[in-house]
């Protein structure tokens, strides 16, 4: 294990990872991550516009993890109540990367939602956002399906994603969001 540590460090260094976390995502953790990233961006003297976009994406990505942590764990055990989060900055772009377990039965639904969002233009995203905002539906957790649309709209970038099959019940879902420096 110790032998791997430098390799681990080196990869993070080369990807210019500013902050990373693996484990259970709690409300307190979200508050801390947001505070740390805000002060890091202040120290880096980032433009207010960039800070706002990164902050907004972080909130949506982390709250997605927070709200969906239980889904896989409820069926397959506490070990899967865990997620990974990283934020890095390469070539004037921030990269927000998240990974979490997802039940195989939910993969195709999520994939088609992501593809749907990725296929839309800026104007179409605006209309779609308003339509979903006003459809009266609200998930118990309050998300209501707006998160991904909002991220795509604010970043102007396609949502990068991958599903990796783990076993007959679970897959690992990773999401990669890019935010250009404004």
């Amino acid at each position: 294990m110790m032998l791997d540590l430098f390799d681990f460090y080196d990869k993070m260094e080369r990807n210019n990872i500013l902050l990373s976390f693996k484990g259970d995502i709690t409300s307190e953790l979200l508050t801390s991550i947001l505070q740390i990233m805000e002060s890091k961006m202040d120290n880096m003297q980032e433009e207010p516009k960039t800070k706002r976009k990164v902050y907004n994406v972080l909130v949506e990505c982390l709250q997605n993890l927070y709200h969906h942590m239980d889904d896989a764990a409820a069926d397959t055990g506490e070990k899967h109540r865990s997620a990974i989060f990283m934020i890095g900055k390469i070539d004037n772009k921030y990269n927000v990367i998240t990974g979490n377990y997802i039940l195989n039965e939910n993969v195709s639904g999520l994939k088609s939602r992501l593809d749907e969002v990725n296929a839309l233009t800026k104007e179409e995203l605006k209309d779609y956002y308003k339509q979903v905002l006003n459809n009266g539906e609200m998930s118990l957790k309050g998300g209501g399906g707006l998160g991904m649309i909002d991220i795509a709209r604010k970043t102007g970038e396609k949502l990068g994603y991958n599903f990796m099959a783990i076993d007959e019940k679970l897959s690992f879902f990773s999401l990669n969001i890019k935010i250009s420096q404004q």
Binding site: S27, P48, R52, Q63, L133, M138, G142, L146, K154
Partner: protein, 126 residues
């Protein structure tokens, strides 16, 4: 008539609702994990206010950030205001945004397109 106030936190906004003067303000950050729970008391007070509103109702929204979970709740608040407007109180929603925050301006315009209440877009300096 009474006042309804909530002190702001790093994740939730300050809310002041003075029913006697018909003034409501929401300012700060609105990024709670459970926004339905947070906004319910305000929605309830608006329902109470709707039974005998003032002739004019002024609403100031000055949010620095809000998450998508709050956006549906804010729409619910605006729908209550729309009903109050229909009921005869002249409602105005003053939507504040920082001068270079196009996303916040656009968010205000989204609500303006959905809600049948006069909106004023108010630019504030950083």
């Amino acid at each position: 008539m009474e006042k309804f106030s909530i002190e702001g936190t790093p994740k939730t906004p300050t809310i002041n609702f003075d029913m006697a003067s018909g003034f409501l303000e929401i300012k700060g950050r609105s990024i709670p994990e459970n926004s339905i729970e947070f906004y319910k008391p305000l929605v309830d007070s608006l329902e109470k206010y709707a039974t005998s509103p003032k002739t004019a109702t002024n609403v100031n929204i000055q949010l620095e950030y809000f998450n998508t979970s709050s956006s549906k709740c804010i729409l619910d608040v605006f729908k209550k205001l729309e009903a109050i407007h229909k009921g005869g109180s002249a409602v105005t929603i003053n939507w504040h945004y920082e001068e270079d925050d196009e996303d916040m301006l656009e968010a205000g315009e989204d609500y303006q397109a959905i809600i049948n209440v006069p909106f004023k877009m108010v630019q504030v300096e950083e």
